[in-house]
Subunit: 435 residues, 2 copies
């Protein structure tokens, strides 16, 4: 490539999947990216462009602002174009908009008008719609005519004169049908659809639930305005999973590229949770501070504070992890709060019992005082129980208050375990050791 | 339904999606499940059955062991059948096997012969294969003939005489082609395929990467043996995400139903991680124990131990969360270890600086001793730095050792932060406070 042997490079690139070409281009230094990209035929270029990461798409746009790229931009699927525009600075967006054909500009504005993370924003307007009075062979002819550049033609949508969705039809059933059959006879009249402002995660769950290849998006008058396809769903569910994992790990996520965001951004996304911890720990420190006389008399008690906090925090985290994931994947319903709390409470008691016994024996061997050992063990039992209840119950509380349970549960569980845990520990010590 | 008005119930159930019928049946008491299920027509019954949760599938099988169910079992897709058999006791599996037709038994045994969580186990053997010398219209005729019960006909596979995969073709391109064109002319000869023993997560990533509807599975002689479809991929990626989330939360996952597993099983899955924590904490307690004289002299130091452990643990967890997720979704590559460590180290330093300053001021207000305050603040800075390095670097170490980074990183990070953190804290206290 370096030696500009265009034709050789072209033959190497040609018989490969667009996604793979995109990977190769991304791995090149940016000067060569432009060069490699220009070697592609126009049709290939569009496919490959849609597979490139947004930063590379952006730099290619800036690098050669000439008709070739604008043409590609014009021919992208509306949903992929919107995704790119979301990443670009407003000035560039305005410039690009000028170059879109009237039709494409309308489609793009439509999508950009919907709120981010809703069905309206992620849908594509390229779907095949049919009328009920077409015959199967007329429908097939229509598809052959219009569908070359459409994202999917495997699910077809039947609408009435005012564009209201009346049925769906798979290409499979159309191919299987006798040529003279009417669409009205072979379509499925029971349509599952989502609304333009349905949350993208719910859209994804709908497609997952029904094993659909695409789901139609309708406006408030039941008119068909677009479809969301299964390939977008995979990315959405992965994004949501990343969000859940990040939130559980105390990191705010916005789905940026790891290496692109500045160190300040990274720190900002993490510092919130750390400052919440500081506040929690102010309380814990106050508790310890106010009970200093207990520690002063039996300094070995201090050695077990990390153990109690770590173990309690983890029992709580385990319960909340399972419950939050269950609520997010809809394996656990909001109404099941009671059986879940009973279950997690039971698990907490069982774990607390096992850990408590082991820790009691172990604490005795460490410092040779049965009273201290029993203090540590019984505190751990109570803390485990408390943590499991908090981890099992709080996600339900926050979910029913329409707050994100993954975000809200951790601070409260930590506070419960740390503050109450240390308080319980030192109070038990005070009464058992007679201080 | 209770009053046995069969026909009325039937009209209610009929025009609805199979997945929804399955939901309704699952919500009924088990006596009524059988009744409701029998109301369905045979074709519906198969579709609905495949959408039912495995425990319900199982109870239906046991509830009425008569020809009707066996017939349905016989007509399920091989991959759905294998998923059901995986859940059933061996005795039931043997009985059911007897009732399969010869052909279906062969298909099912084939799948069961592959290791769990590989492409071979999750693939379906129902795909449409074509020969290169068919014309487009011959191919369409063939599809009309054989494809009524096949899982997908949107991707077609072209094989040679020894069943080796030579190309793929979308139904879309077939429909678009002129009737007299040969398959060899319109197929895509560059085939992306996976091997029967490819891990299911890699299969899912392949489909996700290329935005495929299905990926072909070949054996070691490049012969086509099955396909994996996109609807399975969604479930696999969700399963893997749940596994990652559970592991991060210290819970071993096996994808069981939440309410079905016994309390002992639940406890067993969580206790391992808690015992690892105990061992870590033995070390921490030993460190505190051996430095008791420092604490004895300045008992306020004890009040800050929870703060240091919590904050350090969280900085480490944040780094490892981001890095592990990046490695799992292949956004971060193994070779990028150096930039990642530099980045996480930088983030750790920045966070440590911010937290350290705040904590120093705050600790001074809490107990009025600048030396103690500086001890706490500077320890927190060092601990943050250490935690971020551990969180950024350890996942790479474990990944390159072919260990699960999500599983292995947490114990080591906790140990590093707790044991080294407390040691650093007390050593700084010793030298600053001149003990």
């Amino acid at each position: 490539l370096e030696t500009s042997q265009f034709d050789a490079a072209k033959t190497i690139l040609t018989p490969v999947q667009p996604a793979d070409i995109a990977d190769v281009i991304e791995s090149l230094p940016s000067r060569l990216q432009v060069l490699a990209f220009r070697l592609l035929s126009k049709n290939e270029a569009i496919d490959v462009y849609e597979h490139l990461a947004p930063p590379v798409q952006e730099s290619l746009l800036e690098d050669f602002k000439h008709p070739e790229v604008l043409e590609i931009f014009n021919q992208m699927s509306p949903d992929d174009r919107v995704r790119l525009l979301d990443e670009l600075p407003a000035k560039v967006v305005r410039q690009l908009f000028k170059h879109l054909s009237n039709e494409e500009r309308k489609a793009t504005s439509l999508l950009l008008g919907y709120k981010p993370e809703t069905a309206g924003r992620i849908m594509t307007t390229e779907y095949v719609s049919l009328k009920e009075d077409y015959t199967a062979s007329q429908a097939l002819d229509r598809i052959r005519h219009i569908a070359t550049s459409f994202e999917t033609i495997y699910v077809l949508y039947v609408t009435d004169d005012s564009r209201r969705l009346t049925g769906t039809l798979s290409l499979r059933n159309l191919v299987m049908a006798r040529p003279e059959e009417y669409i009205a006879q072979i379509m499925v009249p029971d349509v599952v659809s989502v609304h333009t402002n349905t949350d993208q995660e719910e859209v994804a769950r709908t497609i997952q639930h029904y094993d659909f290849l695409a789901v139609p998006v309708v406006d408030s008058e039941q008119r068909l305005v677009g479809i969301v396809t299964v390939d977008d769903v995979i990315d959405i569910l992965e994004e949501e999973a990343t969000e859940d994992i990040y939130t559980a790990g105390g990191v705010q996520s916005q789905g940026d590229d790891y290496f692109k965001s500045s160190l300040m951004t990274v720190a900002r996304k993490r510092v919130v949770w750390l400052f919440i911890l500081l506040i929690t720990n102010t309380l814990t420190s106050q508790v310890i501070h106010s009970q200093e006389d207990v520690l002063q008399k039996t300094i070995t008690l201090a050695a077990f504070i990390p153990l109690l906090i770590d173990a309690g925090g983890n029992v709580g985290a385990q319960s909340s992890t399972v419950v939050i994931r269950g609520l997010n994947t809809e394996d656990v319903r909001l109404t099941q709060v009671l059986p879940v709390i009973v279950r997690e409470g039971g698990a907490g008691a069982l774990l607390g019992l096992m850990l408590g016994i082991v820790v009691t024996v172990w604490a005795y061997f460490l410092q040779g005082d049965w009273l201290v050992a029993i203090t540590v063990g019984s505190s751990l039992f109570i803390i485990s129980l408390l943590a499991a209840f908090a981890g099992g119950g709080l996600p339900f509380l926050f979910k029913s208050m329409k707050l994100d349970p993954a975000l809200m549960s951790a601070p409260f569980i930590t506070t419960a375990v740390d503050v109450l845990g240390v308080a319980i520990y030192l109070l038990i010590a005070r009464s058992l050791l007679g201080i």
